[in-house]
Amino acid sequence: MKQFLRSVSLVLTCLLVVLSTGSALAQSQAVPPAVEEVLQKLPEASLRETGELVQQLEQVGGAEMRPLFETMLAGDLYFHKTSGELMAVQKNIAGELIGRDVFTGAELGVQGRRDIKKIRVNNRLRGQLRDAIGRIDLLHGSEAEKRTAVLAILDDLSANNLSLLQSAADVGVSKSVGDLIELANAMVRLRDGSTTDDRLAAIALMDDRLEAPVRNQLRRLVDDENEQDAAVKAAAQEALENITERIEFYGQMEQLFFGLSLGSVLLLAAIGLAITFGVMGVINMAHGEMIMLGAYTTYVIQQLMPASIEYSLLVAVPAAFLVSGSVGVLIERGVIRHLQGRPLETLLATFGISLILQQAVRSIFSPLNMQVVTPEWMSGSLAINPVFSVTYNRLYILLFALAVFVTLLTILKKSSLGLNVRAVSQNRDMAKAMGVRTEMVDAMTFGLGSGIAGVAGVALSQLTNVGPNLGQSYIIDSFMVVVFGGVGNLLGTLVGGFSLGVANKFLEPATGAVLANIIVLVCLILFIQKRPKGLFPQRGRAAE
């Protein structure tokens, strides 16, 4: 969301700049001399001095300084070593450094790497810049920018900031921003108010707000031993309890989402295995490497289309399916076919294959992790309220996992391939006698399972490392999920994945991540003793 807003604001600033330059052209230079004077000090300044300069700039330059601050914040502000001229520098697609005027955006041409030097920015400075931009936005920015700015001010209710809020309110704001400003005023009244009634009214306003500064102020008040007013203290206590209760509720919601998200990852990792292992009975130790191949495919696709990263994942999904799927078919034709009826031996052969694939990736791509870029639309989070937000990548992956599941189920239930697969898995000889080309079906099934694993790899590349060990970290979990759900039952895999994920996440706060994992495993072992065939045992002749 933030990313999105940022890009929107960038576009807006560009527009503004264009508009203002249009009118300012006649006035020769947009930069007033007072600002110019400060700007000249920038190249020489130490980090600490830069901070002071930014303060001065905000005072003398006001809203005009926004593009400069934005450029600094992005780390794009450079100066020319000989002329001392300030400029915004960015790389174009060809990798050349293109300089632009900070304020007008006018191109200054290609810059030599050695000719320019960056104006250094550190963390503290970045915070300062962001606050300064916030203050500018409060009066001039978009709705969302104003919101962010007011939220930032809640943490620092100084007289200066309050008067800024007042002028913002005078300019006119939307209802939600207005509410926030009112909240800020309430917080001030609670802090500085003289009569009990006034302060109680302020608490009433703050009663159901989830913003962290509200909580912190109430807590400080409750803990404050100098606070004389018992009624205010009691009201604050009650408000705090109210808020905590709501936060706890959202905390539970959040955990549920975390659990579902972990479950969706487990489901994705396991679903291909549910085909190769569950349906075909091949103990496919190379399953993890199929996932890995999918992730590497994503990497390669992104390398091939660096200009359109946003769509790379859409291309990567079918590509990964094809890559992993065809490797799967090769494995089936080359090795597994020869192990017909000896499923435990497939474990050994596929274990060997997994070693070979890992080392192959290490030789081809180097043992280092590969960088897979997350597209804009998968970055950031959807804020439902100040204490509960859902990250986009997790949300999309959850939906994607469900989509993959439904697709797979449809293939198995509705298509003729699915019919054949089910026939062969239930009774190979009979299927063969009925004219099903079992060999063909085997290859297709294995290819399908592997291809799905590859698709899972695309999703996982967005969450974790793309490296030679990627597969290994999911293989054990995948087997657990399939066995827990019941071998040969896709629905079992779905339920298994989600219940393991949710159980893990609800245990984690109490026990820590490791212990939660151990407890889940032990419960799983005990569960299998109770129901030796998993959650949804396969019925029919093949199940003995």
């Binding site: 009826g341 066995v483 495993l521 072992i525």
Partner: protein
């Protein structure tokens, strides 16, 4: 070329003889004892520049291989003879190892870097105040050995009792054993457990008062390992050839039928599982003083899978096949990691694939095929095919 085929022929004959009960086992026992004795003597008696000198490196390496061989044999007993594929035998091995490791740790006494007489070093710098209760008594050798056997034995019993009673079989059982060792690995990684976390237990000084760094101690450990391997081999051989062993094979080939005949199959399975776990634990106990470290990595499910691979390479259901497989694969690993450090995984992976596809009976099967006359071979093949498919269908469906 001629020498090569000659060698193969010889090995073939040897292994064919091994196949026959009695004679074979005494052969293997003899060879093992003779080799290790010769190596020991060469290490201790010959000067270091002699052409026949065996370095201490080779001695410890051999000791390590033999521990692995014992572990592989433990897996073979339940997998080859009872059809229980355990992907978690490393757990019993490591638990045995930790028992021994705790004893060795306590033997360090105040010779640790912090000079604390009671606490092992890793507890001192993590600021533990006193020894956790489960460490008490581990400074006594007999108690440590008892624990190193009792804990894995008990774990195997409880796990086996639960699993076999509720008829968890085949793939489900394999995955459960894997879950078991995985859970233990995660647990031992935790520093709060008091087993040294990721670093495990290391920096041992001496065992029963003998310096672990001394050549004589190493040789003695090698000999003890060989002796125990031989004892375990003979005992296991006796078990599988007894009436009990036949029931076990019957359980493997047709469990339902055996049950209908009145055998309490789960009992046989539980006790065999415990026996196998105990052998694994002994292997672990011998392993630790020889390699000088025990850490949670030994619990890793991949390690356990590797053990299964050794057995498969050697040929399962033969006992000696497991030993030969473990020795060969590990020797290959040692050589490959030194000769072709960048590509040895290709070789190892390919070896596994080739063995499983082309040598379903492992090396033992290959050598038998060479060694047998045509008619016998044909008969045998039929028999193998029969029993083989018997195992596997049950394993899929169970």
């Amino acid at each position: 070329m001629n020498a090569m085929s000659n060698l193969i022929e010889k090995m073939t004959r040897v292994l064919t003889e091994l196949r026959q009960p009695g004679k074979g086992s005494s052969m293997l026992v003899g060879v093992l004892l003779a080799t290790t004795l010769a190596m020991s003597a060469a290490n201790l008696l010959l000067p270091a520049d002699s052409a026949f000198y065996v370095s201490t490196y080779t001695i410890t390496l051999m000791g390590k291989y033999l521990c692995f061989a014992m572990l592989a044999m433990a897996v073979d007993i339940i997998w080859g003879y009872c059809g229980i594929l355990s992907l978690g035998h490393g757990a019993f091995f490591a638990l045995g190892g930790y028992g021994m490791g705790m004893y060795l740790m306590r033997q360090i006494g105040d010779r640790g870097v912090y000079g604390n007489p009671d606490l092992p070093d890793f507890m001192v710098f993590l600021n533990w105040q006193e020894l956790p209760w489960y460490w008490f008594g581990m400074d006594q050798f007999w108690f440590a050995v008892l624990m190193a056997l009792a804990i894995p034995g008990l774990l195997a019993f409880v796990f086996g009792w639960l699993a076999f009673r509720s008829r968890v079989t085949g793939v489900y059982l394999s995955i459960m054993t894997q879950a078991l060792t995985y859970a233990l690995m995660l647990a031992f990684f935790r520093n709060e457990m008091g087993f040294g976390g990721n670093n495990g237990l290391t920096d041992f000084k001496d065992i029963l008062g003998f310096d672990l760094q001394a050549d004589a101690t190493r040789v003695a450990l090698l000999l003890v390992t060989t002796l125990l391997l031989v004892i375990a081999f003979i005992t296991s051989r006796a078990i599988v050839q007894s009436r009990l062993g036949r029931v076990i094979v019957a359980v493997r080939d047709a469990e339902a039928r055996a049950r209908f005949l009145g055998y309490r199959t789960e009992r046989y399975k539980v006790w065999l599982f415990v026996y196998s776990a105990l052998i694994a634990a002994v292997a672990g106990m011998l392993y630790v003083p020889q390699v000088g470290i025990i850490n949670p990595g030994e619990f890793s499910p991949l390690n356990s899978i590797e053990v299964v691979v050794w057995v498969a390479v050697g040929g399962r259901g033969t006992l000696y096949g497991a030993i030969v497989g473990a020795l060969l694969v590990n020797y290959a690993k040692t050589r490959f990691t030194a000769i072709m450090p960048d590509g040895w995984l290709f070789a190892l992976g390919a070896l596994f694939v080739i063995v499983t596809v082309y040598l379903p009976q492992g090396l033992a099967g290959l050598l038998q095929r060479f060694g047998r006359s045509e008619s016998v071979q044909a008969a045998r093949r039929e028999e193998d095919a029969g029993s083989d498919s018997g195992i596997s269908t049950r394993e899929v469906n169970a």
